[in-house]
Amino acid sequence: MKNAKPKRSLWTPPFGPAESCAFTVLLMLTGFALQLATGPFSFYLLSFPANLIVLFVLLAAGLPAGFRSQSAVCAWISGPAFAAGLLAGLLVLTIAMGSILQTPDPDKSAALMLRLGLNGVTTSWPCVLLFVCLLLVLPAACARRVRLQGWSALRFCLWHAGVFLSLAGAALGQADRQSYVMHVYEGKTESRVYAPDGTSLELPVAITLHDFDMEEHAPRLVLIDKKEGTPLPASRPEFVQIAPHAPTGRLGAWRIAVDTFLPRAVWAGNGEFKPMEKPGASPAVLVTAVHERTGETRRGWISSGNMGQFQHALELTDSIAMAVTPATPAQFTSDVTVAVKGAAPVRTAIRVNEPLRIGSWMIYQYGYDFQLGRYSDFSSFEIVSDPWLPMVYAGFALLALACLAQICRRRRLAGQHDSLSGDLL
């Protein structure tokens, strides 16, 4: 873009980097003007079938443009300089997006920056216009490459068709994506859900919750500064993971042996913890700590406590005590039966990272009663339908192929080969 010839005046064919830059700037200015005049773009305008029509129009306009060899404009917009200009525009917008908190706020009286849509870049007009151009130009570029190179354009088309399918599927499919949250109580069946705006409605999906369970990681032992309560050593705190296969460890100058570990226990009142399955129980551990040099020995119960019980630490010196970290969740599991209209009910376990796919729905473990933890009597699910997902994933597949093809290409090394056109390294 930087080497526009000063002798040439703008907008005389063949068009090149200078025109591409100018076009992108004009396009974005138009976008900002539209944003000031009308506010953010509403993606719900693109609900089916509008998005399908837009997709068809993009392809119907883009592909022929790439096949027309005579037109200076068509050659320009299907060429690399135009793409570089659009991508640079997108770069500027996304840098703004990454630097400014994204909390769309429709307030008309807000600061100019906000009215320009920089607090909600994805729904701002400049971004929408750039996307439209990208999606128009990608098929044109593919068509032109095929026209010029036939089969040799395959790798190029893998990259660019992959980008087209992913971006088009994501942007146009956004309006058709449905996502709801459903709360189900243990032993109950539910099919009412909440939309993001808080309204409730009935879905053709019914979930029966048989049981909700939460596994926890065993806590870790740590030395703390008694006054501050902060972990030691301050520069890089050390922890000893409590685990059945490693009942001993070292923290600072103390050798530690774990005598008893109770994953769920309550304070019994007589200086002891006892195992107990009930809300408010917390992990407790009986440890013996021996100072390596002095041989001093301390023994006692430690528990991280929770809102049901106090924390117990083991005093080692005047300034140092031993404590345990709170237990952290390892996995959430909902044992459910799911029924969808037109399909047999399925009994399965839904976990984080293990959603259930049934009919056109994906069901995700979403939440539970934080106060009760594993004893939560309800579990909530996110229920998602995304009809354009196959298109996006098809794009991902093409892109992955393109990457692998690029990585596996035979490369000649710079030392062995000396030409500009060669594929060096």
């Binding site: 992955a400 690029q406 990585i407 030392g415 060096l424």
Partner: protein
């Protein structure tokens, strides 16, 4: 606690790499041998750490920095050996040494237990692809800076170096895209959507966009040097995506901000 011994492994590694960087110009073979010895030294530490953790060391920022120094130095040695560019060895040794020195000064937090969303088969390929991409693009940036700041023949384009830079950037960009794709599929499994414009995702997009601008601006300008400035700029954005997101006020809600 093998982490506490990092200085015992890191300082010899640093010494060997710096020695390799200094000897590179005269005694290329000696420089390669020294760098390789440093690489094995850090590799041994990495392997011991891996064994102690019982998982690949890719979770915390400290661990990824360690792996980055290791991968970058290895790539530099390999590329320098195959291409005969001794300066590349010096540059990659120095860059890897910077990361290693930062790591020794600030080893960062120890990793806690894995939260449920991170327990996924996609975790390792996702992070591995990004670390490899960052290392390759780091090498590409060094090559671009060599051409821009210390050109071999006056200020003219090095006809051997420029195509090599492009090849390196394309290779690195491919790994970058693989990292994004594995991340997107994983996000769909874990959170129900493949792309949520979380700040880390936004900056990953920014990085990819920057390299795309470079790749497209290069077509038909094979000898233009001005475009090369895009590479250090893109690498700066990459560093924001990797290390800087935790410091951006707009990114405090990110699910990707970790110690």
């Amino acid at each position: 606690m093998i982490w506490n011994q990092i200085v015992w492994w890191g300082v010899p590694t640093l010494a060997l790499w710096l020695a390799g960087a200094l000897t590179g110009k005269r005694w290329t073979r000696l420089a390669l041998a020294l760098s390789l010895a440093g690489w094995f030294c850090l590799g041994t530490f990495t392997a011991l750490l891996w064994r102690e953790l019982g998982r690949p060391p890719i979770r915390t920022l400290g661990e990824t920095r360690l792996l980055y120094a290791f991968v970058l130095a290895g790539l530099g040695i390999w590329t320098a050996w195959r291409s005969g560019y001794a300066w590349l060895l010096a540059a990659s040794n120095l860059l890897a040494s910077v990361f290693l020195a930062i790591l020794m000064a600030r080893p960062g937090m120890q990793a806690g237990p894995l939260m449920p969303a991170l327990q996924s088969a996609w975790f390792v390929p996702h992070v591995a692809a990004y670390i490899i991409a960052y290392a390759i693009l780091g090498v590409g940036t060094l090559m671009a800076l060599r051409q821009l700041l210390f050109p071999r023949r006056g200020s003219s384009a090095d006809t051997r170096l420029l195509p090599a830079i492009d090849a390196v950037v394309r290779l690195g960009f491919s790994f970058l895209v693989l990292g994004m794709l594995t991340g997107a599929v994983w996000a769909k499994e874990a959170w129900g959507h493949y792309w949520s414009w979380d700040p880390k995702e936004t900056w990953a997009f920014v990085t990819a966009c920057a390299y795309l601008v470079y790749l497209h601006a290069r077509v038909r300008h094979a000898r233009s040097l001005a475009v090369l400035w895009l590479l250090p700029a893109a690498f700066a954005l990459l560093l924001v995506a990797w290390l800087g997101v935790s410091f951006i006020p707009a990114a405090q809600q990110s699910v990707h901000v970790y110690s």
